[in-house]
């Protein structure tokens, strides 16, 4: 079984300047990207960035990301 990781984008509004979960993860499971993808001649607003689980096979369900999140936006379950 692979763990499931959900991040509430309504609560996590500026992951690029917070990035606590990205730095705490011991196996670099999480990734930060955008919902919209790159756009011509336009830099994407930081509010459009989201955090998501990517490399699920390395997730140990240690819950460090859940605990470090100041917005309580992350849930991890197996």
């Amino acid at each position: 079984m692979l763990p499931t990781i959900t991040v509430d984008d309504q609560k996590c509004t500026d992951p690029l300047s917070c990035r606590k979960c990205l730095l705490v993860c011991p196996t670099r499971v999480l990734g930060v990207g955008t919902k919209v993808g790159p756009q011509k001649f336009k830099e994407i607003d930081p509010s459009q960035f989201i955090v998501a689980g990517v490399r699920f096979e390395r997730c140990t369900v240690c819950l460090d990301c859940v605990n470090v999140c100041p917005k309580n936006a992350i849930q991890v379950s197996l």
């Binding site: 756009q39 830099e43 096979e57």
Partner: protein, 278 residues
């Protein structure tokens, strides 16, 4: 022989020494092909990393090897046609810098996605060729802007990154068009991770392997931390460094830290059984 040399070296010693593989003509072919398919020729969209989904990880997890093999093949085919890398030793990279112009220092997309690394800490990627003149079209791909470099500045910066422990990798953007020198490490480079963690060959090994002279190795272990490919370990039994030659990518990073000069880069082709291990 390296399949890319077979196809694209055209008489040069290696495919990445062939100036034709940096030509503006190829850049235009890539752009026009992408646009013909209805896509904007955005450099980031050339990447194959995004093709690896949870479906693949689930198939691995339930040991469905037939599905895994099929998905692996699909992803590799796309990557090799559009965007893959080959590890190159520092001397070769410094020669490449003299082939192509312009050269620019840009921010690393992998470390942005892995760590959200701020732009000012993230200038570890080198972009090359005509695409660099058009970076303003894709400000998000080039977040933080670009710094154009003279060849000498580029050599100095790349040498420093090599010293720091980052592996140099040449990347295609529409094979065989080469337009990037990545400076990678595990675990923050997506290509190394996908290659090592999932056995999907985004990265091809280089044309050499690092060989230890056991007479000269004094077991100081200065080299061990340099390997980003899990090929180098320390043998307590022999009190010496140990290199798995089938796992070695031939970057040469271990060599520059050896105070005994006990490690040398040897051409892969010198070992019949390694000649086709890429």
């Amino acid at each position: 022989m390296c399949v890319w040399c077979e196809r694209y070296a055209d008489g040069y010693e290696r495919w990445y020494f062939n100036p034709a593989n940096y030509a503006r003509k190829l850049y235009k072919v890539r752009k026009e092909e992408a646009e013909a398919l209805g896509a904007e020729a955005n450099p980031q969209a050339a990447g194959g990393m995004a093709l690896l989904t949870r479906d693949f990880l689930e198939a691995v997890d339930r040991k469905d090897y037939e599905v895994v093999a099929k998905m692996r093949q699909q992803v590799e085919e796309i990557a090799w046609a559009t965007h893959f890398g080959q590890v190159v030793p520092l001397d070769d990279v410094l020669r490449v810098v003299d082939i192509i112009y312009p050269i620019a220092l840009i921010t690393c997309a992998c470390r942005r996605s892995m760590l959200g690394l701020p732009n000012e800490e993230n200038f570890t990627c080198i972009g090359m060729g005509p695409g660099m003149y058009k970076w303003e079209r894709w400000p998000d791909t080039y977040r933080g802007g670009v710094h154009f470099l003279t060849p000498d500045e580029a050599k100095e910066i790349i040498t420093k990154m090599n010293k720091r422990g980052l592996v140099q990798v040449l990347f295609t953007f529409g094979t065989p068009y080469i337009a990037g020198i990545c400076n990678c490490d595990y675990p923050d480079c997506s290509a190394i991770r996908t290659t090592l963690d999932h056995g999907i060959q985004f990265l091809w090994k280089g044309h050499h392997v690092a060989v230890i002279d056991n007479e000269l190795c004094n077991g100081c272990a200065s080299c061990i931390h340099r390997c980003q490919f899990k090929a180098l370990s320390f043998s307590p039994t022999q009190n010496k460094a140990y290199i798995d030659l089938f796992q070695c990518f031939g970057c040469g990073l271990c060599i520059s830290e050896c105070p005994q000069d006990a490690i040398t880069l040897v051409e892969r082709a010198k070992f019949p059984a390694l000649a086709n291990v890429w």
